[in-house]
């Protein structure tokens, strides 16, 4: 586990059952038309996010987690077809028209992306871009926007704010740029932040700082966060609940401690097993999941993990398991674990 895992997650998350969710996703599916065929990147994904909750969206490359996050705000190119419902604050994002959608983005829901090096416009100063982000949603003067930008930069822990505002992006380090981007995303007090691998491109130490920053904001403002990542250490350190994706489908959902202690889905178990631990026998072979992730072109109606699953039964080849609720606020999409079964770890 990385150093990040040593951070305590905290038990500030409310119980999902008692409060209305801030985001409710039902049957989200996204496909792309390509020359090779139709690629089903996201297949019938449903989940919800409670106010103040930090939800981790985990999966390997190609599992559909980034496409899912982009689909929530409809930021995909025109070659994508998205269906399903994304209910946010009582309205379905999928049915919003132009200006309503624009107001939603950066206003009530914001995103932070993976690569800070190309996420800022290189020919405008930091201050200018922050002012732009503010004035896209609030009718304030430039000087007022500048003042607020300075305050926002302080909140994300950037020193020497006045200088930074006048600098161009190439004069800032990667970690600093990511903080600026986070500040921009927060500038209009969103209720939900979607963070797509915000620390993957950064040094480990900077990683810890950024994640700590996100947690601070979550604690202070009760802003929900969807954290898309492939790093289980990050998940363990920050998230309240975890969603596991594989082959474009959601295969497991559980509170973080439960997921790590007793995973229900064979893929989750495989993932956890493949994490190298300091205390394991140095001479033991690394544990891997045999096989490779499925091609998402023209999906076949069977469990996507079936070809690599050590526990598969006949039924796994014939039908797609649905995400069925289990005890303790968990759910998993696996035929084998529907009835009584042996624990996977």
């Amino acid at each position: 586990m990385t150093a990040v895992a040593s951070m305590v997650s905290g038990d500030s998350a409310p119980h999902p059952a008692t409060v209305a969710p801030v985001l409710d996703v039902a049957g989200l599916s996204t496909s792309f038309e390509t020359r090779a065929g139709r690629v089903q990147a996201v297949d019938d994904v449903s989940f919800s996010v409670a106010p103040g909750e930090i939800v981790g969206l985990v999966g390997e490359s190609g599992s559909g987690k980034t496409v899912t996050s982009l689909s929530l705000l409809r930021l995909l190119p025109s070659s994508a077809r998205t269906s399903g419902r994304v209910i946010f604050e009582g309205r379905d994002v999928m049915s919003l028209r132009g200006e309503q959608l624009r107001q939603l983005r950066g206003g009530r829901i914001s995103m932070v992306f993976q690569d800070p090096m190309t996420s800022l416009d290189p020919v405008f100063t930091v201050g200018s871009q922050m002012i732009g982000a503010l004035r896209a949603h609030q009718r304030i003067s430039r000087s007022e926007a500048l003042r607020r930008s300075a305050s926002l930069l302080e909140q994300v822990g950037i020193p020497d704010v006045v200088t930074r505002l006048g600098q161009y992006p190439h004069e800032l380090s990667g970690g600093m740029r990511q903080r600026v981007l986070i500040a921009m995303a927060l500038s209009n007090d969103p209720a939900l932040l979607i963070a797509d691998e915000p620390t993957t491109a950064l040094d480990v130490t900077i990683q810890a700082q950024i994640l700590s920053l996100l947690r601070d904001i979550n604690v202070r403002t009760r802003m929900s966060i969807i954290l898309v990542t492939h790093d289980l250490g990050v998940v363990a350190g920050l998230c309240d609940r975890v969603l596991v994706m594989y082959g474009g489908r959601l295969v497991e959902s559980a509170p973080v401690h439960d997921l790590f202690r007793s995973p229900e889905h064979p893929y989750t178990a495989g993932l956890l097993n493949s994490v190298v631990r300091l205390d394991q026998d140095r001479n033991r072979r690394l544990s891997v999941i045999e096989g490779s992730p499925p091609l998402l072109i023209d999906p076949v109606p069977c469990c996507p993990f079936n070809p690599r699953c050590a526990y598969s039964v006949d039924r796994c080849r014939e039908a797609v398991p649905a995400l069925t609720p289990r005890a303790g606020g968990r759910s998993a999409a696996c035929f084998r674990t529907e009835g009584p079964h042996e624990p996977l770890r």
């Binding site: 705000l73 930021l75 624009r102 190309t118 020919v123 982000a133 190439h170 995303a185």
Partner: protein, 324 residues
């Protein structure tokens, strides 16, 4: 930044120098200047006498240096054809060419920028296809053919404009349109390509996710970034324009500019005039490119860093497929 500009200035001087050298070598070394200037019926004795009188039999190096030194003082010799100082003749024709090029570029830029932006903003729509088709036509039609066609249709058939010559506004219409066609087409392609490139960038996606208005993203962010490659390629376009197509348009429309003068000089085998004309045109081109270097540096803050220009230029070449 200053160092960069100084380097570019030095380069400009070098180019003019090389052009002069090239023309000198071509006219004095490749062929015999005396033979060129005298009628075909001249005997060898007459050629030798003329050669001596004009100093063509001096060692090449001596002739070269004398030409260069005089040129540096603005003295390009006397035109054989018109018996007037060659330099003065060329300079006298400059305004006419200048006006033609200026108006043509205004039309080209004024048309290409909106068209290119529209095509990029509405990718794959009917506007996009229209812009691409128009630009292809623009770059494919030879300037002299287009000119003749326009004369045929507009001037002869409909009698709307004069068929050629220089004068008031009505004389400008056809030549300017003809000259503008190619840069219009090419620039539309360039603008469209540059904008498409920018709209695919991460910062545009981030901007959208922050709720920035589309118009703001296109005209403030994408356009400013695209401006850099556009301005650079536009400068190259202008250089080519002056050097090549202006000549054709001036010939077709009998426009009294430096291009027509060059052709006449060539037809009259007037070496000093050729040298003067080519050198002055080359100077104009490099002066223009230098001005554009200044604009370029002003637009892109990354150039202030060492190595920034190299990186930007590499990106430029990759972007367009055409060597920058």
């Amino acid at each position: 930044m200053l160092r960069f500009l100084l380097k570019r200035f030095g380069f400009a001087i070098l180019v003019v120098f090389c052009v002069q050298t090239a023309v000198f070598l071509i006219t004095h070394a490749l062929g015999s200047p005396a033979r060129l200037l005298l009628p075909l019926s001249a005997t060898d004795a007459q050629v030798a006498a003329f050669s001596h009188a004009q100093g063509f039999d001096r060692p090449l190096i001596v002739q070269y240096f004398s030409t260069i030194v005089s040129a540096a003082h603005g003295d390009f010799g006397t035109s054989y054809w018109q018996q007037l100082p060659a330099g003065g003749l060329v300079l006298g024709r400059l305004p006419a060419t200048g006006e033609l090029v200026l108006f043509a570029m205004l039309i080209a830029v004024g048309g290409a920028v909106p068209l290119g932006i529209l095509a990029a903003a509405k990718r794959d729509s009917i506007w996009d296809k229209l812009a691409v088709t128009l630009s292809l036509l623009g770059i494919s039609m030879p300037a002299f053919w287009l000119g003749e066609l326009l004369i045929l249709i507009v001037a002869v058939q409909f009698g709307l404009t004069p068929t050629g010559g220089y004068g008031g506004p009505q004389y400008f219409i056809l030549p300017v349109i003809t000259l503008a066609a190619l840069p219009l087409g090419r620039l539309t392609q360039i603008v469209r390509s540059a904008m498409l490139d920018q709209l695919d960038q991460q910062y545009v996606l981030v901007g959208r996710s922050l709720g920035l208005r589309t118009r703001h993203l296109i005209f403030q962010h994408a356009l400013k970034n695209a401006a850099i490659p556009i301005v650079t390629l536009m400068g190259w376009e202008l250089g080519r324009l002056i050097a090549g197509f202006t000549v054709l348009v001036e010939v077709v429309f009998n426009w009294p500019g430096v291009g027509l003068l060059a052709i006449q000089a060539i037809q009259h085998h007037d070496i000093p005039l050729i040298e003067a004309d080519v050198t002055i045109v080359a100077t104009l081109i490099v002066a223009l490119n230098f001005l554009l270097d200044i604009v370029y540096v002003a637009l892109d803050p990354r150039l202030a860093r060492p190595g920034g220009r190299r990186r930007a230029r590499r990106k430029l070449q990759a972007m367009d497929g055409m060597p920058a």
